[in-house]
Symmetry: D2
Subunit: 238 residues, 4 copies
């Protein structure tokens, strides 16, 4: 799997700051913008520290709508169709996915779960099956079956590519679910990589810090059983 | 594939009528409601004919928001995961889908495309493959591979069940795309069955009539090439 | 202000139950439906108690998507345009609102806040202003100014009517915000009335019980300062 | 009214192009990205002409989802609360609006419709009313009425500021409605200014060209009566 941050809103934290200040200020948003993105000289710019103080309050109090002015576009490459089927269930995001109706699957385009990779016998069964799947796929097409029907033999393991755009409010919400140890390993890795992509860019490091599993946000585990990181709410009240 | 209308907003056309009239009237919505759903005696009820005259205007002029007050819940059973992956891309709808992480796939739970069913040689290849897929799936689980990883060998053909709730505005939009002959055959059949479920209920027959492919709505085919039903816009202007 | 539940999904809790069970069961949704809505005889029906046990778990664990299959339509009458402007900011809902471009405002169509009603001097100022507003509105129209421009003199106090449809997942989320004592008094009353409408119907009483301000859900107040009902998170950790 | 494009997705047309190509290509989105945003040397870059040829096809055929990867953030200053109430009805957008609960209205913060400005008698009535409104507003606050209740006397004419982020797919849809001559004059001006902001930036001029009232897109007027620009569908078929 590869996750690459292709594109993002310029001036991320400044955008959220201007939006938040517009709500509680008589100043024009254009003028607040100039306070954080000065056109010349940096002397009077409102500091990153002050901006993050406001963002901390916004995140803590749950007034998250200003985070929607920040968007990120990722190239997501080589995830399984099992993972992509889960991913596109997030409805407050934009997805452009490689189509199996139009694109022919290439050899070696399969994801192998670690549990299978680390078990010789399972790995052998799995490889044989994948070869068989690809072979049947091709034979069906050679018989004149259209690609959109031949793909019925392609397994969940088949790799796919997606371009995903998500705003930061939704990314914050999704990470609470998908960074949880109960999430499926592949989608958890995907959002861990999403977080790493943000962490690797100096100006986005602070935002990356807000991306946490829900237990870190709530202070307890809301699931039926905890992974051990935090007690459940029931366990807490004991 | 089975599509069953499980549940729907009571008084569908009346709901849209009351919403539309509320916008342009000084009357309270509660009082408009009583004009279409009288609590006693039916004598003074606004007629279905008048309600449909208003709905016709609403549909034609594109002021579709009042159609959102009408919702339908369908049981969708035995579609392929290829089809369900497409289906859940519609974001203005609610889906609850059978999970392959928790539910074990049973034998004979595969969709067979017509192009394969009608070709002996292809059918044989396909059946052999499906048996092999199910066998590998089980062997992996017997080796201790968790179900969520064993399912990587399950093909797109694997059947799934979904409960789907969609409002009528979105249903109207989705049918324009999915009833088009260019849509994948399985999702086209799905929305054709959705339309049939509405047609089969006397009070919903009129609404079903509005569900049409986009060419019927536009008067021309907006695709690059037409299926022949309507000329493309380019062909029209010749 | 009046809030009237006009219409709602039949079999509310059963719908959420069927959706939830579909995710984790090999059974067809149609068959699960028959277990909670038997076509004849009530003997074998899954009990309300069992259904609510599942709903409690769903609400507690945050897996709320199955609540989207339940929708409610309300007539909201006589709220101020100040309140309606806030209300329509909730984007996961459907609104049909009386238009000031097309409907002429009638006399006595103004909301009076309690703080003003209970202060004689303020009340007198307010009444004089409202008379003046209505008088200017009419004089402008008599001069030939179109209604859509004459309404520029109508105050926030002017009453409006709205038909609102919201699913139960969103209603649950919105009530967390709008039942908080920090919400504006008018929109708080609105959602308190929404909750009362559900409480008054036997089969919806249980759902009404889930509608709570966020502090009740979280166990602490996430706002900067608490109203006193719950300590803030900071105060808790002391 | 002022509308200022504060911020936008970098590489707009390239983003839509990469998203569209990802759907129909075996190439990784990261590699397609490099074809339109080369890291060094511009020689081999896919030309703007080719990108626009693809965008033209996408727009014409209605496959608009790839346009969602492009977002624009505008500062909207000095529109009336009548206009802002309409504006925030668009649900696929993000709004941060100046709050009348927290910000005190200043003198001269009122919109004056042209029909009133150009009529001496109306103008006089209007000015007198606005002075009276502002005076009552202040007197109420002096009596100790909280700002959130004193604002009930503020008229629709009162100015407000909003930061709005909208993706290009939604902007395309909204402009079809709001650039129509039947839209209220103020919101029409707003989206005309939105279009102008895009037109004024060289790299966005092409996108601005797609923003048109619905009659230009459909080739006919879908409203009951046409403004004369295009015939209605009924008139066409005569």
């Amino acid at each position: 799997m590869k996750v690459i941050l292709l594109n993002h809103t310029p001036h991320c934290i400044e955008s959220a700051f201007v939006a938040a200040r517009t709500c509680y200020s008589g100043d024009f948003p254009e003028d607040i913008w100039k306070q954080v993105i000065p056109t010349s000289g940096e002397n009077d710019r409102i500091s990153d520290e002050k901006i993050y103080t406001l963002l901390d309050k916004i995140i803590a109090s749950g007034h998250h709508s200003v985070l929607e002015h920040i968007s990120f576009t990722f190239a997501i490459e080589g995830i399984s169709r099992a993972c992509s089927h889960q991913l596109v269930r997030h409805r407050i995001a934009s997805f452009s996915q490689q189509s199996q109706r139009y694109v022919t699957l290439e050899p070696d385009s399969f994801v192998i779960p670690d549990t299978i990779k680390s078990d010789n016998q399972a790995k052998k069964l799995y490889d044989t099956f994948l070869n068989n799947s690809l072979k049947t796929y091709r034979e069906l097409m050679e018989l004149g079956i259209p690609k959109e029907d031949a793909r019925f033999v392609l397994p969940n393991a088949a790799k796919t590519n997606i371009v995903m755009t998500m705003n930061f409010r939704e990314l914050y919400n999704v990470c609470q679910i998908r960074l949880c140890t109960r999430a499926q390993w592949e989608i958890r890795e995907l959002f861990w990589r999403v977080k790493m992509e943000l962490s690797n860019i100096h100006s986005l490091k602070g935002l990356a810090g807000y991306l946490q599993p829900k237990c870190e946000v709530l202070g307890y585990c809301p699931e039926h059983r905890s992974c051990g990181k935090f007690p459940t709410r029931e366990e807490m009240s004991k």
